[in-house]
Every structure is written in C-alpha cells, then in structure tokens.
Subunit: 235 residues, 2 copies
C-alpha cells in the first residue's frame, strides 16, 4: 500500500446526481468518518479545487464499479462514465499518519508495511435518507505515553478523521475479537501500548452497500485519489 507522501489523498465515491445530494447530506451529518474534500459538477470528472488537472475517470490506479450486487475492479472508468454522475472526494487517514510520522510518533503498522485492522462497529452514524450504516473504524496501537500527543496532533486534522474516538476498549464498540478485523490485517497492542480507534472513510462503502444504491463507483482499496493539497493542512 504505497502512498504519495506530502499530498492529501482521498476516498473517491461516484454517484448519480439524484443520489449524490442525499449522500452529501449524510456526509455533512457525519463529518468524522465522511469529511467532504471536494465535489464535481454533475457530469464532470474534474474537481479543480482539489487537483488542477484531475480526471477521476483515469487518474486512480484502480476502481470498483458496483452495479446491483456485483463489484467489478477496473483501471479506468471512462467507459462507465455517464452525464448524470457526480464525483465526491472524502478525506482519508493518510494525512494524520503523515503528521504523526513527522512528529516522531511510532506507527507500528507502517513499520510492518500493512494498513492495519479495520472494524465494523456497533456505533450508529447519523442517518440521512437511505444511508444509515454503522461506523467503520481503524484500530492503531500507540505507546501509552504518546497517546496524548496522538490526540492533539490528529485532533487538529478534521479532514483526516480528526481525533480518535472516545473509546479505548474494543468491546465498547462491539468488537468481540480484535484479532479478527473485518478489513485489513490484524495488529494487536503489545505491552505498553494502547489501541486507539479512528473514524474511517470506509464507512462510505458500507453505507452505500447497505443502502441498496443500484450503481456507484469507488476507488479500489489502497488506490486513492491524490490531490494537490498539503496533507498536513488543517482545512
């Protein structure tokens, strides 16, 4: 899972316009997992405020096209593009990760070269229209004496999901087995470490799937949209 260091990355969601407004309302109601970084005009593949020459149809390495219950992975969505589609870019955690690494905070999942564990929780999101899934979170272990620094650094980056959630026990989130994540790879705290849970942009994928939206496109796992923005900017 490579990332372009220094530039803010984003989750991509492409939706028909008649669903996009409702989805944007859902994002506004849930800014921790779903911070909106940019939105295209209806029918447009550009989001010039995020990246001057962006073409969301071709600039990501891989996409998932969701149609009914089927997901197809492709490396170009030009043929799937329609005049009623809207592209939405949502914040992701890499900005926080960059800021933590720069501050000298140890990130064990980075040392191990893995994304780390992601869980579906029992925390409801604020429902809007058809969208009402539970929140997806990432779990990352930190040295206990660095937890306050992690809270301060990530709290200043709301577009990267902000501060960790106010829970530090997996069971409080309905996670019965922390060694068995729903996505990503297992990574358990070692002695002297504490797990922190962060709202995760994958909440969008779960919400879209559970809402029964007929047709939508997302980035494929790890194939983020790369913007022109500095990932350490607060806004």
């Amino acid at each position: 899972v490579g990332r372009a260091r220094g530039y803010r990355q984003a989750n991509l969601v492409v939706l028909p316009a008649d669903t996009a407004t409702e989805f944007l309302a859902y994002c506004a109601a849930n800014p921790a997992p779903l911070p909106v970084l940019g939105v295209s005009e209806v029918g447009s593949w550009a989001i010039p405020s995020l990246a001057s020459d962006l073409d969301v149809r071709t600039d990501l390495p891989r996409y998932e096209i969701h149609a009914g219950a089927t997901a197809t992975t492709v490396d170009d969505i030009t043929d799937a593009w329609r005049a009623d589609l809207v592209a939405i870019a949502l914040g992701c955690w890499f900005g926080a990760e960059g800021a933590l690494a720069e501050a000298g905070v140890r990130l064990r999942h980075v040392e191990l070269g893995i994304q780390g564990p992601l869980f579906r929780t029992n925390l409801p999101t604020n429902p809007v229209g058809r969208f009402s899934s539970n929140m997806v979170v990432s779990m990352r272990p930190f040295a206990t004496d660095q937890v306050e620094r992690v809270r301060t650094i990530t709290g200043a980056l709301p577009l990267s999901h902000g501060a960790p959630l106010a829970f530090d026990e997996p069971l409080q989130l309905g996670i019965a087995n922390p060694a068995s994540p729903d996505w990503g790879e297992p990574l358990l705290p070692e002695p002297g470490e504490q797990p922190l849970f962060f709202a995760c942009g994958l909440t969008s994928g779960l919400a879209l799937s559970e809402a029964g939206i007929d047709f939508y496109i997302t980035h494929a796992p790890g194939s983020m949209l790369v913007t022109d923005h500095d990932e350490r900017a607060a806004a």
Copy 2:
C-alpha cells in the same frame, strides 16, 4: 443583532435539489467562506444532526425568499416550501467570536453593539458550475499584540471560517475605501490596532444572486439558524 451564546449558529440556504448538488460542490471547493454544517434530505425541513427538533420553515426569526430579482422578507416559509427543496446550513463567524471573547480578546464591534463592516473583495472563489462570485469578507480591528492569539484561536475553528486571510491591507483585497463597507457598519482600526479579514458566509448570498438562480431562500440578516452544537467545538 442578538445571538444565542454557546450554541453554534448557521447561515441557511434553501435550494431546489437540482441546484443543491452544484451549490454543495461550490461549498466544498470553498470551505473557508462556505463550511457545510448540515444538509436536509430532499423535501425535508429537518436536519436532525444539527438540532434534534429543527424545522427550518418556522424556527428562524426571518427569512428572505428570492424569486427572480425580487426578495421578500417573511417570518415563516411554510407556504413557500416545496417537495424539491433542500436546506443547507453553513458555518458563521459567531463561534469564533465566542471563543475570542472567552479568551479575553477585545472585540470592539461587540462593545459597540454592531456587526462590523463586510466587504466584497477582488478575491475570486473557486468556481463550480454557475457559482463563481468574489469572496465577501468581514474586517475586524484587533490590538496589534493580540493578532497572533486571534490567528491561533480562529485557526482551530474551520467551521467558523477559520484563521484570518493572509492579507492585512484593504487594497490587497481591492477594498478602496475601508470606511465604506458594502454591508454592515463602518469600523476603522484605531492607533495600535490592526485590521484582520475573515472569509464570510455572505459569500453564499452573493454567489446565489450572481448565478441567476431563479428561486432560493436564505435567513434574513442577523436571523441565523441556531443549532444544538457547542459553538467552540472544532468539528
């Protein structure tokens, strides 16, 4: 101009759904003047994530209904409501004002009981579709030795327009006569004070007006939407 201290207030914009998506894209491209706090479902007057029992048709003191070139001020928009309307709440500066007052920063416009001067600048916003107005800013005078504190405090509140702009001379913003604001009341810096300029939510009104949108509704000046949220929260 009274305000409900402690609760985050918002600018209200009500738009037909077929325009709302484009307007939300414009907001996402311009988060400093247009931070999106909440969006209703299509046809709904509720934004439960902002205020549990909100009815945007009746809960604000006064509204402006814009139809063609005509603006009508009313105290209830129930009769004007339509099944295709979407309500959008945008951040306003009162949260920053509350945080500054709490930190003991002198706010002369508050002492004088005025809103203070607002200007149309020569700074373009990031255009999206039909929306492309210049930015509206507020100008507030602060004691020179408090400017850094003001930057720090407001920079932590992106939903209240965040830190001041990186300009401190009116002419840099195309403001030829700082004594003659486009909206609000004049308030000039005194010796030992420096003016700071903040992105202003009134940019939305200018953008809607210049875009030639046929029908939209906004709060009337000073008659904000009051949410259930703490105005000092960063996100």
